[in-house]
């Protein structure tokens, strides 16, 4: 984020050669750091603002093994190229033959060309080449820096892939103590119910809870549950397709499914996933309960290099416009009826190849210009970035987190979910350092909660530690104290828990300053109109709506804790304290 902030301006065109595409491995990536993630950052062509996406798998660790932690790529090549990095040496290679290949085939061809099966590749597919504004960068069968269109930035540079191979030692400051501490921490983490459930079912386990609570996006958030029909999409329904669980590099939780569809229309489809976010985005959000169709749609997106959450969200938007007669089949060329999985598949092909109606949807939120004013309110977005597979009218901390997230609507920027566990308020007070109501539909203390999680998550991203192993779903999972020990024993850097929290503040306020440059303030820290004006019509969350007055109180508390003024602008004293005033 620091690197992006050096380049960022409101006039920076995301598709211009000057927009930096930044690969940043975490400080603990490549070590026993509980996941080994990498952040990919640039100005987003999807939202037009701050872009940032975290990717798991092995690519980040391989970059570190090759002796690098960060890449800053600017400029634009005349012809398609890929970067090859081997133990610190960087080479630009011709990628003409890779043009038009999907994301898995691209990786295979590069390995064949280099004669090395251990090369790790991050690449774009056809969607990135065609500058679909929400194109992803992909690595392996499933890993994606999916959100905010980083693949489109890569495509704009004519950069098809980055291939990495590293065999260097990662030196450890205190090896014996480090290993001992790691084993101890690992044991405690794997004893948590959350880690065990995650290891068995993966993120699809969340679907059942979201559906039962009424916090799912159904038909573009016109509804928030599908009731008993949700059984079709629960984690247990995926079991027949699962052929085992997989891990990212250095992750003990193994939350990823490997799957294969053995019969029926989609016979022969195999891969990894799908995650809860993709099931929601191509499932309930589109009124679709055909699990095999969803799996196929997700796999298609993976091969094209499309972000599944955004793709599902823009299709949901189009479906609601179709439902309301704002667009018709003359424009769409397809019947965009809720639950029509065949149309969804066809649309994915059209979007990735920018053909017909797909060329309009490939513009993401910028398609508003084409659809006109009546369409605007039906694209549920925050900061020009679409709401995901959930509905936040019931869980108020999530609602605030969506509104304040620096990359636009995002449930992972804060992921304030500890109040869903029904923990005693004394426990929450101890964690958050102030009162937080333990009822997730209460507004009380939720500004504090979101603030606290934003800081912690900024730090875990900077370290490359996976969110799923941190404190958001279990109070016994990792947070500052464990981070501090892992950093000190592996790198020798002495960063106390409170130092790390300050670093979290620095990162988040730095991100905020980029948004301020774009002219954002309190006015943009808001939610889709539907959340304020349409109570949830049925299901367990029936009647829930966001009350503006209460929402404003949460924002006030949130700004105060961040050290920002009541308009959401960081105070001069805050910038000075965080040493980002220059």
């Amino acid at each position: 984020m620091y690197l992006l902030s050096r380049y960022y301006s409101s006039s920076l065109d995301p598709f211009s050669p000057e927009n930096p595409l930044i690969f940043g491995a975490g400080l603990l990536t490549g070590t026993l750091g509980f996941g080994s993630r990498i952040n990919i950052t640039a100005k987003s062509p999807e939202s037009g603002h701050l872009g940032d996406s975290s990717m798991g798998g092995e690519f980040g660790a391989e970059l570190v093994k090759a002796g690098l932690s960060h890449l800053v790529i600017t400029g634009k090549s005349k012809n398609p190229v890929y970067l090859l990095i081997r133990n610190g040496e960087i080479e630009i290679r011709d990628a003409q033959k890779l043009k038009g290949l999907d994301t898995v085939e691209t990786q295979k061809r590069i390995r064949i060309e280099l004669g090395d099966e251990k090369v790790r590749v991050a690449c774009i597919g056809v969607a990135g080449e065609n500058l679909v504004r929400y194109a992803a960068i992909r690595s392996g069968m499933k890993n994606a820096a999916g959100r905010t269109g980083m693949g489109a930035v890569m495509g704009s540079k004519n950069l098809k892939a980055v291939a990495v191979r590293g065999t260097l030692d990662i030196r450890i400051s205190e090896p014996e103590k480090y290993l001992r501490y790691y084993l101890n921490t690992l044991k405690k983490l794997m004893e948590t119910k959350w880690a065990q459930a995650l290891g068995k079912f993966g993120t699809p386990l969340l679907f059942k809870y979201a559906n039962a609570m009424g916090i799912l996006s159904v038909r573009n958030n016109q509804l928030t549950t599908v009731g008993d029909r949700g059984h079709h999409l629960e984690a247990e329904a995926l079991e027949p397709y699962s052929t085992g669980m997989l891990s990212c590099f250095a992750c003990p939780a193994h939350c990823r499914h490997r799957f294969s569809i053995e019969e029926g229309r989609y016979k022969g489809t195999k891969g990894e996933g799908p995650e809860y976010a993709s099931i929601g985005s191509f499932g309930t959000k589109l009124g679709n309960l055909d699990l095999e169709n969803i799996i196929y749609a997700v796999e298609l997106c993976n091969h094209y290099g499309l972000d599944t959450i955004s793709t599902g969200s823009y299709i949901a938007w189009a479906m609601e416009l179709y439902q309301r007669g704002i667009i018709d089949q003359e424009r769409t060329g397809l019947p965009l009826v809720w639950g029509d999985g065949d149309s969804v598949i066809e649309l994915i092909h059209l979007i990735a190849n920018r053909k017909d109606f797909g060329d309009i949807l490939a513009e993401g939120p910028f398609a508003k210009k084409v659809f006109g004013e009546p369409s605007h309110d039906y694209l549920l977005e925050v900061k020009n970035f679409p709401i995901e597979m959930t509905d936040e009218r019931l869980a108020k901390s999530f609602a605030l987190g969506m509104a304040t997230s620096t990359r636009g609507a995002c449930h992972m920027r804060s992921r304030p979910s500890l109040d869903i566990l029904g923990l005693p308020e004394e426990v929450l007070k101890k964690i958050y350092g102030g009162s937080v109501n333990n009822n997730f539909s209460s507004y009380s203390g939720k500004g504090r909660m979101v603030w606290w999680h934003e800081l912690l998550n900024a730090v875990s991203d900077a370290l490359g530690v996976c969110r799923f192993l941190t404190v958001f779903s279990s109070p016994h999972a990792l947070q500052y104290r464990q981070f501090s020990r892992l950093i000190s024993l592996s790198t020798g850097l002495n960063l106390r828990a409170k130092d790390l929290k300050t670093i979290g503040e620095r990162i988040y306020t730095l991100e905020r300053m980029m948004l301020i440059k774009d002219g954002f303030s309190r006015h943009e820290d808001t939610l889709p109109e539907r959340y304020f004006s349409e109570p949830v019509p049925e299901g367990p969350a029936r009647g829930e709506v966001i009350l503006r007055e209460e929402f404003d109180k949460m924002l006030d508390e949130y700004y105060r804790l961040h050290g920002w003024n009541q308009n959401g602008v960081p105070k001069r004293t805050t910038l000075k304290r965080l040493e980002i005033d220059r």
């Binding site: 490549g30 070590t31 026993l32 092995e58 660790a61 093994k65 898995v104 990786q107 295979k108 390995r111 099966e117 392996g140 069968m141 065999t167 260097l168 030692d169 990662i170 030196r171 450890i172 090896p175 480090y178 290993l179 790691y182 084993l183 690992l186 794997m190 290891g199 052929t243 085992g244 669980m245 997989l246 891990s247 990212c248 590099f249 250095a250 992750c251 003990p252 939780a253 193994h254 990823r256 490997r258 891969g271 990894e272």
Partner: protein, 144 residues
């Protein structure tokens, strides 16, 4: 004693490789580990952990006048021994082969293997069972 592998359970996290190099060398380097995960990550997603089987008859030492008991406790071997192994079980990096010395009795890789693909077994593989296993390993390695 040896480490028994259930490859179906392997999640491919590489933690075993990492702690192996860390325990023996004080660095993390998955290339310098006595266990290695053979991956088919762009197709079947199958992972195969490979390491020394602790054979009773050590073909890897053929032609050498060394004490088996002593060599068994050594982690870094010459790569020539890897070439003699009927299972291709030793990791080779540069001029070295990395051999499982069972961490002196408490294998670290087993401790970090959360899917339980690695287990400690008291039994040893003996020929002809070994020959059969070698054939199977070879056929897996050569299958497309």
């Amino acid at each position: 004693m040896r480490i028994k592998v259930d490859k179906k359970k392997c999640s491919g996290c590489h933690l075993c490789e990492m702690v192996c190099s860390l325990f023996h060398l004080g660095v993390i380097n998955t290339e310098k580990s006595a266990i290695r995960i053979q991956k088919d990550d762009l197709d079947s997603s199958q992972n195969i952990p490979i390491l020394c089987n602790q054979c009773k008859e050590m073909k890897c030492l053929n032609g050498e006048e060394v004490r088996e008991g002593f060599e068994k406790k050594r982690f870094i071997w010459d790569r020539k021994r890897a070439e003699r192994c009927p299972f291709d079980a030793l990791t080779v990096f540069g001029e070295n082969a990395y051999h499982c010395d069972l961490c002196g009795g408490t294998p670290q890789c087993v401790k970090v293997c959360t899917p339980k693909a690695l287990r400690i077994s008291k039994s040893r593989i003996q020929f002809p069972a070994m020959s059969l296993l070698a054939c199977l390993t070879a056929s897996v390695a050569s299958s497309p």
